[in-house]
Amino acid sequence: MRTASPARGAAPRLEPPGMRAGIVFGALILLFAGLGGRALYLQWIDNEFLQGQGQARHSRDIEMPAHRGRILDRHGEALAISTPVKSLWAFPDRLEMTPVQLTELARVLETSRVALERRIAAADDFVYIAKQVPPEVAERALALRIKGLHDETTYGRYYPAGEIAAPVVGFTGTKDAGQEGIELAQQAWLGGHVGSRRVIINRRGEVVEDVASIRAPQAGRDLALSLDSRIQHLAFRELKAAIDAHRAKAGGLVVLDVATGEILALANYPTFNPNRRDGKVAPERMRNRALTDVFEPGSTMKPFTAAAALEAGAVRPDTMIATGPGSLTISGRTIRDAHPVGTLTFEQVIQKSSNVGTVKVALGLPAERMWRTLSDAGFGAVPRTGFPGEVSGRLRPAQSWRPIEQATISYGHGISANLVQLARAYTIFATDGELKPVTLFKATGAVAGRPVIKPETARAVRRMLELAAQPGGTAPKAQVGGYRVAGKTGTAHKLEGRNYANKYVAAFVGFAPVSNPRLIVAVMIDEPSAGQYYGGAVAAPVFSSVTGAALRLLGVPSDAPSTNAILPADAVEIGEET
């Protein structure tokens, strides 16, 4: 029997011939549908993650730096300027360097190896290896290829004038924000705002497309101060020399432009270096004493008493006043002159700074009248220079004055003012009776003042002040070669608690040239303790050297023969107390 072929004997397939292909086809369709669905899902619904990933590969948010505005002097010389600097940082546990690299790094950073090691060892998780170094130094440090050493760019603030202008300009703290002085007061003007924008970059890291500007950067604006760097330097140099020579505690000096009310120089000593603040600086060194501290002005107040008396018509410059034995007792308190001077004209009373004479005239005035003149001259009100923390000083209302108080106020005790206020008050004598506003910012031209006293009163007091700065007055050492000067000394006892101590504030406020006053210079020296303490001996010479040099710097025509000034060695000032 023929066996059936196995093929035949096998059970015939039941499915139709197209079935297998159909299944494969269907599976493929399903797969494609799945893929398509997934693609659609990713494209339309769950697109955040992938789009984010894609953008991370080609789009970047770049920060656009904005630097802080510069602070300039009146001639455009920089007093504060921002420049990019680098800081080097590391995580100590990820920092790997060989001893050779460590030595090299110390050399590049100009520090010792030991100091560097100690610095790294002292930190827990993050350490600045070097803060705010010039970019080229950072580059050299990074070129050592130390593993784990990173850099960051920030702006560093530099003060070319250093300690000389520091109390005025102030300084910035962390995050480039103003912390003291003009830097603080003008933060909104000076500060820049960092901007940022989104861009597309190619694989070489070049920007190929600007997508959007998120925030436009806003650079800080420059600010021009009224200071003149050269006069500021001069003022600082002379003030420092005088404070050192007289072993004084502190001092201040203000130079005012009479026409514009601009402060051309404002020096303080002791001071601080704003470029190096890593060490601790005593807060009192940072203070701008000329604006934030008050003192009793002493005899520098007498011209205002004189003005009040002349305005009231109580006296004339040639009225004779008996100062008698040089003392006067009012309600149990005795007022003395340093030296009895006998009978004087009113002019001479101011010239020789007689307390008794001044008090006699002052007591002939209604308190209200005297108060009005002092208040009009700006006492008891802040000078509004635009400096933070300036003070007003104290001028009590006239209703509360007892005779003894009126007497002491007439020669500058029981009243207080800061140095800028005092300098400003003298504008009424330097002009024909106008009180000028003062400012620390560059002005565009002359400003109008407020008339306070009559022009003839101003002229009469100016004449008295010129006499005071001549032989026979209290301040012949204020003389300046080639210029006529006028001014008043002050030698005030200092208040300690409620009593006056045997410590003095020597002061001189004056202006020049008298024929057409251009500058007011006020000098204050706190506690001179090398023997001399009279304003005429301590402060007047500073006035003389600063005024002379400043007038020549400004090219002011001289109004006196250059031989007018007597040699300081020959000058004998009349002594005064208060």
């Binding site: 920089a78 070319p160 000389i164 070049e206 190929v208 040099a549």
Partner: protein, 90 residues
Amino acid sequence: MTRVNLVLLVVLVACALSLVTSRHQARKLTTELSRAEAQARAFDVEFGRLTLEQSTWATPARVDKLAREQRLQSPAAARVVVVEMPEAPR
């Protein structure tokens, strides 16, 4: 009809190509712009640094010190003549 289509196709291709080139141009220009901006910033920084350097060299305190070292002094008052300009130019 076919000819119109052909023309449109050519126009379409031309448009597409010009889009590509202009896009490319735009990117190149942007790169150039950003490079120029970076350069401007670098110059700005350099300017700041040079200003700082200049003002540091020229501080009156330094000039004063150098002048003293060379024994220079300002002329005595008697040897200074101030001449006034007849008409100050405005």
